[in-house]
Amino acid sequence: MLDKNGIAKRIAKEVKDGMYVNLGIGIPTLVANYIPDGINVVLQSENGLLGMGPFPFEGEEDADLINAGKQTITTLAGSSIFDSALSFGMIRAQKVDLTILGAMEVSENGDIANWKIPGKMVKGMGGAMDLVASAQNIIVAMQHVNKAGESKLLPNCTLPLTGVHCVKKIVTELAVLVVLENGGFQLLERAPGVSVAEIQAATAGKLLIEGDIPEMQL
């Protein structure tokens, strides 16, 4: 079973040289730590920055330089800054190659819910709806089951949706799965030490298992 860093590490393998990537808050943010040397990617922060760098050294924080999670960050050689309309313009025009974000629920037809728990959490969707509606390639980083032990990979989402029919791939503490065009989660890889049966038990939505399922290489 993977921890958060393990999930991030596995997702980092999906990041290819030359990609522009948008990383959501939480586990997706950790992905940046595991992108191998020699793989040149540019991180987009949807508040208006291409080329997001690491956190500043202590004492070098700049209140004017933050990411979409409102964390102090730095720029890199080649960074550019722009307004929020252009930022979502490039997202909508599908110039961002890969979007990695968290989810509360994903359905077997690729719907995602990650912004609202009615009566409980009313923080707002931020840029998530824009990102999932426009991204060509969306990877969800999430826990396979919630704290009550219930599956978060469902036949249908029960929470208010963020977007429909958009998730392409899911990486959890248990598995890597793709969402099939006609519905269903296809199991691609098992986390180290996790059995297919455990994944099956943790997946409420339709799960397709074809042939031998290899263990992840991290």
Binding site: E46, N67, G163
Partner: protein, 232 residues
């Protein structure tokens, strides 16, 4: 050149009336018009509809206007980090319209570009789409979203000149340029105000034609919401 300079924040906002719609630039606490927010607090203008990506925190930014109950309605994309906000929302004292961040930015831009509506796929198939016109272009479904119609836009820039030209610094740019374009009356507060001619015409982010009033602010606190650092 036309001179847009006013004395201070209080002068700049003095004709904002109860019940009007105002845009406030900034993302979180980054790039917010601190001086004008203080002036709005002093003026105690109320029943405002505020269009702003966030609602500040409890004791800073738009959060201060919420505490004084000056806001009737917030139109935002993300309002976490604000206990008083949640309380007012859940108690029904505050009306809230949550819309996607890109939709928020683009509806500002549409106003600045004289476009009555724009189409975006953001929110298709979600509760955001309820009651909205949809249309399919090239096999993809879009929502039709209207340009905002705001009485005032209040923005913060780094540098500005007496002709109203603005330059923003770093990601404090965020919503400020698109809101600057979108107000019927646009008020800009800047950290550094210079005479017309000192800014390079090629490097202006907001042309002065969009800015009606400008003043040099002071005592910027520039609070950091999430101080994240690494060690050397």
């Amino acid at each position: 050149m036309i001179n847009k300079v006013v004395k201070d924040a209080d002068t700049a906002i003095k004709d904002i009336q109860n019940g009007q719609t105002i845009m406030l630039g900034g993302f979180g606490l980054c790039g917010i018009p601190e001086n004008c927010i203080q002036a709005l607090l002093r003026k105690k203008v109320s029943d405002l509809t505020c269009i702003s990506n966030n609602a500040g925190v409890d004791d800073f930014g738009i959060g201060l206007l919420l505490q004084q109950r000056q806001v009737k309605k917030m139109i935002s994309s993300y309002v976490g980090e604000n206990v008083e906000f949640e309380r007012q929302l859940l108690s029904g004292e505050l009306e809230v319209e949550l819309i996607p961040q890109g939709t928020l930015a683009t509806r500002c831009m549409a106003a600045g570009y004289g476009m009555p509506v724009i189409y975006t796929p953001a929110g298709v198939g979600t509760e955001v789409a309820i009651g909205k016109e949809t249309r399919v272009f090239k096999g993809k479904e879009y929502l039709m979203e209207y340009a905002f119609d705001a009485d005032f836009a209040i923005v913060k820039a780094w540098k500005g000149d007496t002709a109203g030209n603005l330059i923003y610094k770093s990601t404090a740019r965020n919503f400020n340029p698109v809101m600057a374009m979108a107000g019927k009356i646009t008020i800009a507060e800047v950290e550094i105000l210079v005479p017309a001619g000192e800014l390079d015409p090629d490097q202006i982010h907001t042309p002065g034609i969009y800015v009606h009033r400008i003043f040099q602010g002071n005592n910027y606190e520039k609070r950091i919401e999430q101080r994240t650092v690494r060690t050397k």
